[in-house]
């Protein structure tokens, strides 16, 4: 890191003086958020798509020059005649996906979330969502899963997409969620958006009595003092934080809500309608994501319940190494524990 960048960072964020600790490297674009030694599964989306395609000949795959980086290459290798490379042209990617669906096929179209949400929105909205076509949008690098900065960090993708009628939004936690979600996305009518986790993806939910059901939230563990409502990779952090809080004699329930839209308000509100501290946890901006989804459900039901968000701030995030950034922006397990303890006083 250059001196200029470091001093700018130190000045604007008040971090420790240079040289206090070794600086982590941004490293690869696709930095893994798996913990050292954690059980992982390789390219769960790609393998799940191959399996689904073996059962359903309507499934085709396409990408915009990001097959290797969205695990679509697994599908391309297994079914070269059912894979279409559309080049670095996201408007064409999603317009063509609509056309493929018009002929009765079931496309899975992958790119990074930023390009799907920001660059190709008009094509997703009018060509896919308005005619309610079964096109499955697969977005890599959701939220803060890359240290490349705002060009690649889709911190507001759910905020952008939640306003789109007909679109189902899925924010999976781990490889179990992804493996089970893919065939359900293919089978469901209408368009879906999957916040893809790719590469070596943590395997977490196999240790719980859990199955992914499209449109459903699930209680992963009960607890008397605090209720976590989480989605995406933050469910993994929520479970870790719940374990850590047990050492502080704080009993935490965790509700995993991987389908953001349509939202399973019934399950979530039943858990929130208690005296426990309510916390939402998401790998997304505090604007327009899980927190606001839960908040609107709470207000609509007249619960009058305070909800504490753990979410990314409403700002363009720094570049850097993921562990550094997750700590900086409050997504790390330690920051969650500290926030809950502070809330409980």
């Amino acid at each position: 890191m250059s001196t200029v960048t470091a001093s700018k960072g130190a000045a604007s964020r008040g971090t420790a003086p240079q040289g206090a600790a070794p600086k982590l490297k941004t490293s690869a674009m696709i930095a893994s958020f798996a913990d050292p030694g954690q059980k992982t599964s390789s390219a769960p989306f790609g393998h799940a798509l191959v399996k689904a395609a073996e059962a359903d000949p309507r499934i085709v795959g396409l990408t915009a020059d990001l097959g290797k980086y969205t695990d679509m290459h697994i599908f391309a290798k297994a079914f070269p005649e059912r894979f279409f490379q559309m080049g670095m042209a996201e408007q064409l990617l999603f317009g063509a996906a609509a056309g493929l669906a018009e002929t009765g096929l079931v496309p899975f179209a992958s790119t990074y979330s930023v390009f799907a949400a920001r660059r190709a929105y008009d094509f997703l909205c009018l060509d896919i969502a308005e005619p309610n076509l079964n096109v499955n949008i697969v977005g890599g690098l959701p939220g803060l899963t890359t240290g490349y900065g705002p060009s690649h960090q889709a911190t507001e993708d759910m905020a952008i997409f939640r306003g789109m009628p007909n679109l189902t939004i899925v924010d999976p936690c781990d490889s179990v969620d992804i493996e089970q979600a893919v065939p359900q996305l293919a089978a469901s009518d209408g368009p879906t958006y999957l916040r893809l986790l790719r590469g070596n993806v943590p395997t977490v939910l196999d240790e719980y009595d859990y199955t992914f059901e499209l449109g459903k939230a699930k209680v992963l563990r009960g607890g008397n003092d605090v209720v976590f409502v989480s989605s995406g990779l933050m469910t993994m952090r929520a479970l870790q934080a719940a374990e850590a809080l047990a050492a502080h004699k704080v009993d935490v329930a965790v509700v995993h809500a991987p389908t953001i839209k349509p939202f399973d308000a019934a399950t979530v509100l039943a858990e929130l309608n208690t005296d426990r501290l309510a916390v939402t946890l998401e790998n997304h901006s505090v604007v327009g994501g899980l927190f606001e989804t839960v908040a609107s459900a709470v207000v609509s039901a007249g619960l009058g319940k305070r909800v504490v968000p753990v979410a990314l701030p409403d700002e363009f995030l720094d570049a850097g190494a993921l562990p550094t950034l997750h700590e900086r922006y409050g997504l790390s397990m330690q920051r969650i524990v500290a926030k809950v303890l502070a809330e409980l006083g």
């Binding site: 999603f94 056309g99 009018l126 005619p131």
Partner: protein, 304 residues
Amino acid sequence: MVVVQDQFTAGRVGETVKDRIERVAAAANRIRHHALNMGEVQGQGYVGQALGAADMLAAVYADQLRYRANDPEWEGRDRFLLSTGHYAIGHYAALAEAGIIPVEELESYGSDDSRLPMSGMSTYTPGMEISGGSLGHGLSIAVGIALGLRHRAQSGEGSSARVYNFLSDGELDEGSTWEAAMGAHHHQLGNLTALVDINALQADGKTDTVLRTEPATEKWEAFGWYTQRVDGNDVGALLAAFDNAAARATAVGRPSVILCDTKVGRGVPLLEEREKAHFMRIEEHEWQLCRKQLTAGSTGKAGR
């Protein structure tokens, strides 16, 4: 019940070239009359575009397109995509001419609860393949449809149907049009034909003052397309171009484009000579005059 009523390419059995041109020109004339009648209901609108594109639409629906009027979703049909949603007035007229929607329904154009909204949408109208209107979308969707039809044909399910995308020279402003142009060539979608209505007019004025799209021919050629440029109001020239495109149409091959220079308001001198406007206002007393001029111009030439 499926009634077989296909229209096939390149004229009818036993038809002379002259007969064919007259038949298509007569269809264009009826499309223009329909468009004037629809325009009068609204008092204004995209009549100029409909009149300008009527010959292109007639060549498609009266001569080229394979379809079944009473089964618009027939799997084996050729696809005609209207990317320019605001040309719906002309497209509805062509759909009526083709027998896909009743002529009487045209008077509901742009009215509440009509199946014929001002901007064409697939969810409203039989025979309307896509929802256009956000310009620069049609060709991308056409790429996907052509890919999908070819893919399904390989597995014995689909057809060798052709895909036509109607777009305007204004849509050449949109980057997505060129993404799709590259994609169609890359994937060698030889059953895809783009029809570009070059009326040299956009919402804010003449195309060459808004954003220069010329030289259009060289651009399409450079993108690898089989490119023809014709007078889009010359039915004979249009049919010859369509025949050339049809002769080259193949599952794997170069996509083709027919660039059609047209005149806004064509067939009605009053409107041809008026200051050109994207959204044309026509006074109440002028509609009958427009119809008279249209009839006078076509009598003895293309009437029947």
